[in-house]
């Protein structure tokens, strides 16, 4: 038993620390801590409500698009125009979100995850004539291997042929995720941080040339998903099949749903969406979502206890940096007092449980090919698989949406700014359920609260001391080699957290046994 310091865990967004207590090779206890506080909710107060749409995108430059649309839904509802957005505006928002999510998922698998499984260094002995792989071989021969070393050693198991293929696709995926951002930009103007999505709809008017340009980039993307991304995920999952048993998590899944199929229903919890909202658990029983059951608890966060247990519409920020027992800047969102995981796995399994035919048949066919049961989805590989399957479902749906656009017709409706109002914007972002809440007083933002997907997933213990979803997924994990704790970083990255991490493994009593270098 010893103390390993992994600090920081890389290839995720942001700054996070996780401390894990290991006893005889098994993780007994985990604390995950958000390590950066910027106070964007405090910055929002007193401003023109419309600015929230730009400011909240800066929460995250990897998934700003989701924030832009959650903010727009929130402001639409506060401004009383939620049921008046022109269809062009509703559809373009769907296309913008879809383009962002498929690009995001490709980035996540190849650029944030793959280096945990593929071995770039093995290309030193590459003998083929693929120009991309040959250029990597020359790169290795030059001897300066940053950013591919240092790294953990010992558990790179892919056969040479698969390894080479995925490395080549790592490079191809750079182009493909860029293609996704170009699709988004056709309607969203620029990326990251689009300026096209605004309360009232979108700023651009669709044109036939933009639609065609979008369509053919989408075609290219669909080919990539079908012939490269999905097969690669399955090939990696086959070799690392033990990761269908690792990182199971809390077993409760929650989704807000996404992609508006109906613009005429003002209450967005009742809207028809491509992915339905709801909850499910390991029993795969579907439950409708009741958003009033969402609370944020702060017993273990650096905020005053007086604000704990509130619904986010009543949320507040009162700092208490020195609080005893606190270890994170993240609050702990809970649903009905229980711990819930959000993300592609939640979206796929909630819709699977609700009987969505497309989702069910795709999931069942892939699982049966791999000879797995649905419960295998609750795992590290299950999360990667859910992300890939969802990419296919979204990419395949977008052509129909695109062809519903009416070129030259408005995509925006004007409105009066209210003096007093409240609003709510819920949607499923790439990484899971994302909620924005606003209170407007005297025409300015009086309160703005955001719960991001990673706040759900990476949350610290709550008021009842229940560990958060990521913490639960790491607890109980066997660490094969404490000098190369692949298991922990693979679990962390399967959640695609929007935070950079540092992980500390401590002894059960928490006392320091002295550090040794991990190399």
């Amino acid at each position: 038993m010893g103390q390993i310091v992994i600090d920081p865990v890389t290839r995720i967004e942001g700054h996070l620390k996780v401390e894990a207590v290991v006893d005889r090779g098994v993780v007994k206890e985990v604390k995950s801590s958000g390590m950066l506080f910027r106070g964007l909710e405090l910055i929002l107060r007193g401003r023109d409500p419309r600015d929230a749409q730009q400011i909240t995108q800066r929460i995250c430059g990897v998934c700003p698009t989701s924030h832009s649309i959650a903010a727009a839904l929130n402001l639409d509802s506060a401004f009383g125009i939620a049921d008046k957005i022109p269809d062009n505006g509703r559809i373009i928002r769907n296309l913008i979100l879809g383009a962002a999510q498929i690009a995001d998922h490709v980035l996540h698998f190849y650029h944030l995850t793959a280096l945990d499984y593929v071995d770039v260094a093995r290309l030193a002995k590459y003998s083929g004539n693929n120009p991309v792989l040959s250029s990597i071989k020359s790169f290795i021969a030059r001897g300066e291997l940053g950013p591919f070393v240092p790294r953990y050693e010992g558990d790179y198991r892919l056969p040479d042929e698969v390894n080479e293929r995925v490395v080549a696709h790592y490079v191809a995926a750079f182009d493909m995720r860029r293609r996704g951002q170009e699709m988004l930009t056709l309607f969203g103007c620029k990326m990251p941080h689009n300026v096209g999505v605004v309360p009232g709809g979108v700023a651009s008017v669709p044109s036939v040339d933009n639609m065609t340009s979008f369509l053919w980039r989408l075609r290219e993307f669909q080919e990539f998903v079908d012939s490269i991304y999905l097969p690669d995920v399955l090939a990696v999952a086959q070799v690392y099949s033990d990761y269908f048993e690792i990182g199971r998590g809390c077993g409760n899944l929650l989704a807000y749903g996404s992609y508006e199929l109906d613009g005429k229903e003002a209450d967005l919890t009742k809207r028809k969406r491509f992915f339905k909202s709801g909850t499910t658990s390991s029993d795969l029983k579907f439950n409708e979502l009741d958003q009033s059951k969402i609370t944020e608890e702060v017993k273990h966060s650096w905020y005053a206890d007086s604000i704990s247990g509130r619904h986010p519409s009543q949320g507040d920020i009162v700092l208490d940096e020195g609080k005893k027992g606190a270890y994170s800047w993240l609050k702990s969102p809970r649903y009905d007092g229980m711990v819930f995981e959000v993300g592609p796995l939640a979206r796929i399994m909630v819709n699977y449980a609700s009987g969505n035919v497309k989702v069910k048949s795709l999931v069942d066919s892939v699982l049966s090919q791999a000879d797995l049961k649905p419960k295998a989805m609750f795992s590290v590989m299950g999360r990667h698989l859910a992300r890939a399957l969802e990419t296919k479902l979204i990419a395949d749906a977008m052509t129909d949406w695109l062809l519903q656009l009416k070129p030259g017709e408005p995509a925006y409706i004007d409105y009066e700014l209210p003096k007093e109002a409240t609003g709510m914007g819920l949607l499923d972002a790439s990484r899971g359920a994302l909620g924005h809440w606003i209170e407007v007083k005297e025409g300015k933002i009086a309160n703005y609260q955001v719960i991001t997907p990673s706040t759900w997933n990476v949350s610290p213990r709550d008021d009842k001391n229940q560990p958060g979803p990521l913490e639960q997924a790491i607890i109980g994990t066997k660490i094969k080699d404490e000098a190369n704790p692949f298991e922990i970083v693979r679990i962390v990255r399967s959640f695609d957290p929007c935070l950079a991490c540092s992980i500390h493994l401590l002894t059960p009593k928490g006392h320091d046994l002295g550090r040794f270098r991990v190399c």
Binding site: V5, T10, S135, G146, R178, D414, R517
Partner: protein, 287 residues
């Protein structure tokens, strides 16, 4: 011919990773060319530390930064993304630990900037404080230039603001350093932005400029006309977006019907509400 290696450290502070994502959108050279190939004949950027890209994790990658600053003293490029929190001596943003205590972003910047060949303040947060420094600046964030000034560090600094910056602005600045050496003072403007990219205002090159000159203004999004009355910051914003275009040259902010929100300028979130006409008071004389 042997390859000259340029070690680079990319430090992420109080930011959102959007600048990194923007650089991933580089076209020619692509990000693969930047990472793996000789980006210019005979020169390779050896990106030793980048939190979103690199394979490794944990203490060894932090040691890479420390080792680089010692072994390549005066020879590495430090790229800073994100603002630097300074309130309460920086505890609002930490990366790893030193001697069992959390190590602040501020302390990392001070240590690494001192011995760098050059510091690049990438994005509006690193250049000017950006979004976390917007009023009331809860964590007292500032740009990297302010940290250097406070510590008396004289390492040459180039700012590449933008929220995010265009990948060409970053690649062009780095290529210029590799080819011609550090920028001369006259190559940079008063905010240390390369004039090559930030020398003109959006307004000067805007395809909707003719509407402005004829007093034809859009009253709502989607209208023909100049977007000035919808809050467009083109007249007070320095960048070449209208001619460079974004994301593989498919579009840009005003081109897609939206407004320029002024993201390359200091304090851009505090000038005025973004969708409100900018007052004459903040406009430069010549407009």
């Amino acid at each position: 011919m042997s390859t000259k290696e340029y070690p680079a450290i990319w430090l992420q502070c109080a930011g959102c990773t959007g600048c990194s994502v923007s650089v991933l959108n580089a076209v020619s050279p692509s990000v693969k060319n930047l990472l793996v190939d000789e980006v210019l004949p005979g020169s390779h950027i050896n990106l030793r530390f980048h939190p979103t890209v690199m394979a490794g994790a944990g203490e060894p990658v932090l040691e890479v930064m420390i080792d680089t600053s010692r072994e390549k003293k005066g020879g590495y490029i430090l790229i800073v993304e994100g603002a630097i929190p300074t309130a309460k001596d920086g505890i609002y943003g930490v990366i790893g630990e030193k001697d069992g205590k959390p190590r602040t972003m501020k302390s990392w910047v001070e240590t690494l900037a001192k011995d760098a060949l050059a510091v690049v303040g990438l994005g509006s947060c690193a250049a000017f404080g950006g979004i976390p420094a917007a009023a009331p600046n809860p964590t007292q964030c500032c740009g990297v230039g302010e940290i250097l000034r406070a510590k008396g560090i004289n390492t040459p600094l180039v700012n590449i603001p933008g929220c995010p910056p265009h990948p060409d602005w970053f690649v062009g600045t780095v290529a210029s350093i590799l080819l011609f050496g550090l920028p001369r003072p006259e190559d940079l403007d008063e905010y240390k932005r390369p004039k090559a990219f930030y020398g003109q205002t959006i307004h000067e090159n805007c395809p909707r400029r003719a509407y402005y000159d004829e007093n034809k203004f859009a009253k709502k999004f989607g209208d023909p006309g100049c977007n000035y009355e919808l809050g467009c910051r083109g007249p007070i914003t320095h960048a070449d977006c209208p001619v460079r275009l974004w994301n593989g040259k498919v579009n840009w902010c005003v081109g897609g019907g939206a407004t320029c929100i002024g993201c390359t300028e200091p304090g851009f979130f505090d000038i005025a509400p973004l969708y409100q006409k900018v007052s004459q008071a903040v406009l430069p004389e010549e407009v």
